[in-house]
């Protein structure tokens, strides 16, 4: 049909009316309020947890005086602001640093919180990124483990199947040498959609439904060099915990991982994901040295700050000690160096849950491939494991007490 013949109104005659504007502004306010209300409802669950940091000692006030120094060459581009494709243009050490920053690192469990659990295979923790027809896995320190074709979206140069060129995926995996399988422990990005902001519960759901669709769980082939697999996730009630602890899996277990099901993917160390292990579910309860032997004394890696303070990798960092300026100069150390220490017989002493004193003995600089200092919770876990370990019975007891305390569905439950 021909366009309507209505007369063009003179733009000089346009009446002043903001009625439509008032309606739109009202709609805008309503949409905004609706969003707020729904968001509040969503947050209620996580605020009820009001997570006690795994170690109550690590209250921020402890290290208020030590403002963390920005890392040279990195802070100019905050890692969080780069997406994976921008990051793919980074080169050399930059790219290693970017990837190292993207992993969510569990805190070590030294006290029993509420959470979720899943098995934690032994192997190399890595990021697997598929994009532009290839797949790359990178270790925790950012260095490349494998470069290979995979059935992940965008993971191989095949027609069709892998989807549009811009689709890329980032998975948080553990590469298990003995069966040459990538065990996917989390999904960060799928077909270009970021899942950073989604809860753990949702990510596991998505992971399980999407991964099998792609055929990535199938046996290796020309276009799919390594098999992918998911790890079993259990509800953290009594039976779930028991299954996770005793259940047989095709890989060598290295502890249990507890997720808070409402947690978003969080780069760096987070109290919303906790790792726990004992002799039964891990060969490596107590850290070994490079020769695979358990040293007599606990080793820790700390980062040197330019005021001589020795700190953990936490944000904010926890101060474990201090080196005097002469020693720093003499040993040719510089700010940012990662240093290895052993904990002497003086041990760690805590007063009111706060670290008071650490008997540190300097061993030397660490291997260059290492990206981070130890986290506070890791050090504490190792220390407790050597002295008074947290046992599976303690965890089970806590789960039972939760089951009986809350007859209705508990706000915080371990799930999977």
């Amino acid at each position: 049909m021909a366009p309507p013949k209505d007369l063009r109104r003179s733009f000089k005659r346009r009446p002043i009316s903001d009625q439509q504007r008032r309606r739109e502004l009202s709609l805008l306010r309503q949409a905004h309020n609706r969003n707020d209300a729904q968001q509040r409802a969503r947050n209620l669950a996580s605020s009820v947890i009001s997570f006690q940091p795994a170690s109550p000692e690590s209250e921020p006030e402890l290290e208020l005086p030590s403002e963390p120094e920005p890392e040279p060459g990195f802070e100019s581009v905050p890692s969080s602001s780069l997406d994976v494709r921008q990051a793919s243009r980074l080169r050399g050490p930059e790219v290693r640093k970017w990837f190292a920053r993207q992993l969510m690192l569990p805190e070590w469990m030294i006290d029993v919180p509420d959470g979720l659990s899943e098995d934690w295979p032994t192997g190399k923790r890595c990021f697997v990124v598929s994009s532009n027809g290839t797949t790359v896995s990178r270790l925790r320190n950012g260095s490349i483990l494998h470069h290979f074709p995979s059935a992940l979206p965008g993971g191989a140069r095949t027609k069709g199947a892998s989807g549009p060129a811009q689709s890329y995926c980032i998975l948080d995996c553990i590469f298990h040498e003995s069966d040459q399988t990538y065990y996917v422990i989390d999904m960060i990005c799928w077909r270009g959609y970021s899942l950073y902001d989604c809860t753990a519960e949702f990510r596991f759901f998505w992971l399980n439904s999407k991964l099998s669709e792609t055929g990535a769980c199938g046996p290796p082939s020309f276009y799919h060099k390594f098999r992918f697999n998911t790890v079993p996730v259990y509800n953290c009630d009594q039976s779930g915990l028991f299954s996770a602890y005793t259940g047989s899996v095709p890989y060598v277990k290295d502890g249990l991982l507890f997720y808070n099901k409402h947690a978003h993917y969080h780069t760096g160390t987070t109290p919303l994901v906790l790792v726990w292990k004992d002799e039964k579910c891990s060969q490596y309860v107590i850290d070994t040295d490079s020769k695979g032997e358990v040293p007599n004394q606990q080793h820790v890696v700390l980062e040197l700050q330019d005021d001589g303070k020795l700190v953990t990798s936490d944000d904010p960092p926890v101060v474990f000690g201090c080196l005097d300026a002469d020693f720093v100069k003499q040993s040719e150390l510089s700010s940012g160096s990662l240093l290895r220490f052993s904990i002497g017989n003086g041990g760690l002493s805590c007063v009111d849950g706060r670290l008071e004193n650490a008997d540190l003995q300097y061993l030397g600089k660490t291997n260059r491939a290492r990206a981070f200092a130890d986290s506070y919770s890791k050090i504490m876990f190792q220390y407790i494991a050597r002295h008074s370990p947290l046992k599976i019975d303690d965890l089970a007891a806590s789960v039972i007490s939760h089951d009986t305390e809350e007859n209705k569905a508990p706000e915080v439950e371990m799930t999977g």
């Binding site: 109104r9 733009f11 009316s17 008032r22 009202s26 309503q30 409802a41 809860t199």
Partner: protein, 835 residues
């Protein structure tokens, strides 16, 4: 067969109300008892040349009304009704109609042409009247067809083309129709009536001619005939031909190049010398070309790396001739053009076109317009001064700020003084030009403004004084103040610049709103709308006292409207109008003051009285709920929070009325939004009202009579209610979810090529996800398992939506949120289902 109904048809037009009502009743009874017979009888009446003109006329109207209605639901009903009528009876009716277009009575011919088109609009898409086009064309080709038959046949063809879509005809039919129509325009063979009908038919058939316009020979032929017709000696035919050219300009822009020189000559001559109606169409031709080029420019992808313009640049090429032609039109003002609301004349059309040209070519227009401005703006003749000012104001949008800023800065002083020109028209246009300058060249938020702290005092003094000018000028001045204030919205520290003048501006705006010397209510409404913008854009910290003082003033005024004498419907409309303006101001004040904790108490202290006023406004109007009052109530609920509960018992019946107002669907939509506001304010205290609210909302969703734009807000409102009442939503789950699933299915079946429909689909999907989110969140603490049976559907819906490439980002966000809420609420229950 056919009943004798002439008497009833005549009686139904009787001056005697009793006779009329009786006859109408009889006709309605006949229609209800035997529709096919009723329609046949009407067709006989219309076809019978021995019947009186009056009964034939009404028969035609009743026939038309049995096939088409303005209301979409009603139309749908009529179409279905027609389809079910026996084929033999329909054939009989159609034969009678086709016979009538050969009648000797022009009115009966005209009416049957319209009715045929209505039948065609139903049957041609269904391929149920394949012989129509052939039999019409036969009238045209048959040797010795009388001219009246040809004329009515062409008219019928035009109406049919207007009713159907070009996909409904095969190309052969299109070719024959176009051939018949274009031949009908031939001057040597046909009389004026036939040519006029043919030219008007071509206007409707142009849309069908795509294939023909692609063929150079056919296109040349059509263009030649149209251009010849544009020179016909009958003005009416020339006007119709120019209307065709306007339509061709927008439909076939891409192929116009070879004809542009001819078209420029034709239009230019018409603009300069033809009768006004023809000249207006000639100007419209250029406005349409501008529309096309502006649209192409806006959709042009600047990344394509191609520096050539996205169109043929007809405007740019014609610029040196086009601009002087348009400037000349500006001098043809009418004496009283600023009085009437819908005055439209050559000067206005020319100015409007000049504004479009400026938007099309940008900077290039400035050197062509400025000499005219400079030459005329000080002339003793008011027409010269007004035209110069109008020209200046017209080119304010389009050219770059860099180009405009120096000349506007230089001219501002002059314009300010021209607000005191002796001539009303000049002052009117001056105020309008100032308003345009503030709209486009005053944006402190983005770093540029022709207003500086130095000239602001002068500007304000001039504006405040000019608000007292005659009503038409005062209204334009309000526009200038509106745009001036708008510039300071979100302007950070700059918004303080306005603060010292607030009291004075408000005082003058209130005075202007009170004036009674205007012929209509335009000044009052402009003054209040401007007041709104001034309040909205003010710096709250510095102006909170002033706004707090304004509040009781507006409340008093609103209270006074209840005392107005209301006798006639006109009085009632006037009262509603003033109340609308005042409720609007109250809404803006409530929203402004409740935005900070420091100023919110002002609203809380006055909430009771404000609410009483709104309820009284509702009470003034029996038939409908006052839209602006409802909108303001939403803002009040947000401001007062849980306190709002005490108003519910009084307010509730108006909420119900609003929710049932399908006719004014905006009112219904606003009421739905207000229900959401109240849910958030009251939380579970809304519970006692929920049964009735939910019943109405579900009823609304099921109704075909309710405008579709209201439906998405209703789904969102489900979410609001569920979130407010939590587990109590249980009783509504089954019906609510059923209807959500139904709507999700409708989304899946929508025509994805229709942009407007996809827009709607996106709104609908987002709102369904919002409903899911609210319900899942509301249930998650105690009754999450109730949602288990619906989880599968939600997941399927999410999957379906995720496969659609056209969904917009807000839909994705809502889908992801709903999915997260599903996982959150159902927790471990989701797991086994997905693995």
């Amino acid at each position: 067969m056919a009943m004798e109904i002439t008497q009833f048809l005549l009686a139904a037009q009787s001056a005697d109300a009793r006779v009329r009502t009786d006859a109408e009743g009889s006709l309605r009874q006949f229609q209800e008892q035997n529709l096919p017979q009723f329609l046949v009888s009407l067709s006989f009446e219309l076809a019978n040349s021995e019947k009186p003109a009056e009964s034939r006329r009404l028969a035609g109207i009743l026939l038309k009304n049995s096939l088409d209605a303005k209301d979409a639901a009603m139309k749908d009903h009529l179409v279905k009704q027609w389809i079910t009528i026996d084929t033999a009876i329909k054939s009989q009716i159609k034969d009678l109609l086709l016979r009538t277009i050969g009648s000797s009575a022009p009115e009966a011919r005209h009416t049957s042409a319209q009715v045929i088109a209505k039948v065609a609009s139903i049957e041609i898409p269904l391929k149920q009247w394949p012989e129509l086009i052939g039999s019409l064309l036969n009238n045209m080709t048959q040797q010795g067809s009388p001219a009246p038959l040809k004329q009515s046949t062409l008219e019928t063809l035009g109406y049919v083309c207007e009713e159907i879509s070009h996909q409904d005809l095969v190309q052969d039919e299109v070719n024959s129709v176009l051939t018949a129509v274009v031949q009908g325009m031939n001057q040597s063979e046909n009389n004026a009536e036939v040519r006029l009908a043919a030219t008007r038919a071509l206007y409707n058939a142009l849309e069908f001619a795509q294939t023909n316009f692609e063929n150079e020979m056919e296109r040349n032929y059509i263009m030649k005939v149209v251009c010849e017709t544009a020179l016909a000696k009958e003005a009416e035919i020339r006007q119709a031909a120019f209307e065709c050219l306007v339509s061709i300009a927008s439909t076939y822009y891409e192929v116009l190049e070879p004809y542009m020189e001819t078209l420029f000559q034709l239009t230019s001559n018409a603009v300069k010398g033809d009768e006004e109606n023809v000249a207006l169409q000639a100007i419209e031709f250029w406005s349409s070309i501008c529309d096309e080029e502006i649209e192409l420019q806006e959709f042009d992808n600047p990344d394509s790396g191609d520096s050539s313009p996205p169109h043929s640049s007809f405007i740019e090429k014609a610029l040196p001739h086009l601009v002087p032609m348009l400037l000349e039109t500006l001098l043809k003002q009418e004496e009283d053009q600023d009085q009437g609301d819908d005055a439209w004349n050559i000067a206005m059309a020319g100015g409007t076109c000049l504004g479009l040209v400026a938007r099309t070519v940008g900077d290039a227009i400035v050197p062509l317009v400025m000499p005219f401005v400079e030459e005329n703006i000080r002339k003793p003749n008011w027409r010269s001064r007004e035209a110069a000012t109008y020209a200046f104001g017209s080119v304010i949008e389009g050219p770059t700020v860099d180009k405009l800023a120096p000349m506007v800065s230089a001219g501002l002083e002059f314009l300010l003084s021209a607000t005191k020109d002796e001539n009303n028209h000049v002052r009117d246009t001056t105020a309008w030009t100032l308003s345009r300058i503030f709209e486009f060249l005053h944006s402190p938020a983005s770093g540029f403004s022709v207003i500086s702290p130095e000239n602001l005092p002068k500007v304000m003094a001039v504006l405040v004084e000019a608000i007292n000018d005659v009503p038409n000028v005062a209204e334009k001045v309000c526009g200038a103040v509106y745009n001036l204030a708008q510039g300071y919205e979100d302007a950070g520290a700059s918004s303080s610049l306005l603060s010292p003048y607030l009291t004075e501006i408000i005082k003058h705006l209130l005075a202007a709103a009170e004036r009674t010397d205007g012929a209509d209510s335009k000044l009052r409404s402009a003054a209040y709308e401007t007041l709104n913008e001034v309040v909205r854009c003010s710096n709250l910290v510095e102006s909170s006292n002033i706004i707090a003082q304004l509040l009781p003033v507006i409340m008093t005024k609103l209270g006074q409207t209840m005392e107005l004498q209301v006798v006639s419907t006109e009085d009632c409309e006037k009262q509603a109008d003033i109340q609308a303006s005042l409720c609007g101001v109250l809404q803006v004040i409530i929203q402004k003051l409740s935005s900070t904790d420091e100023t919110k108490p002002v609203i809380m202290q006055n909430a009771d009285q404000i609410m009483v006023l709104f309820l009284r406004v509702f009470g003034c109007h029996r038939s409908s709920v006052h839209e602006e009052a409802m909108l303001a109530i939403g803002a009040l609920a947000y401001a007062t929070g849980p306190e709002f509960a005490k108003y519910m018992s009084e307010l509730f019946k108006y909420l119900q009325m609003g929710l049932q107002n399908f006719e004014e669907y905006q009112v219904c939509a606003i009421t739905v939004g207000v229900v959401g506001d109240i849910c958030r304010a009251l939380d579970d205290k809304i519970l006692p009202f929920c049964d009735q609210i939910m019943a109405l909302l579900i009823q609304n969703l099921q109704s075909e009579a309710l405008h579709r734009s209201v439906k998405p807000p209703i789904f969102s409102c489900f979410g609001d209610i569920a979130l407010a009442i939590g587990a109590h939503f249980e009783r509504y789950v089954a019906p609510a979810l059923q209807i959500m699933q139904g709507a999700a299915q409708v989304c899946a079946q929508m025509d994805t090529s229709d942009e407007e429909l996809m827009d709607y689909a996106n709104q609908l999907r987002r709102s369904i996800f919002e409903a899911y989110s609210g319900i899942l969140q509301g249930f998650k603490d105690e009754k999450a398992e109730l949602m288990l049976p619906y989880a599968q559907h939600l997941l399927q819906f999410i999957e379906l939506v995720s496969r659609d490439a056209q969904r917009d980002e807000s839909v994705t966000k809502a889908a992801v949120a709903a999915m997260g809420d599903l996982a959150d609420a159902l927790g471990h229950n989701t797991k086994p289902r997905s693995s």
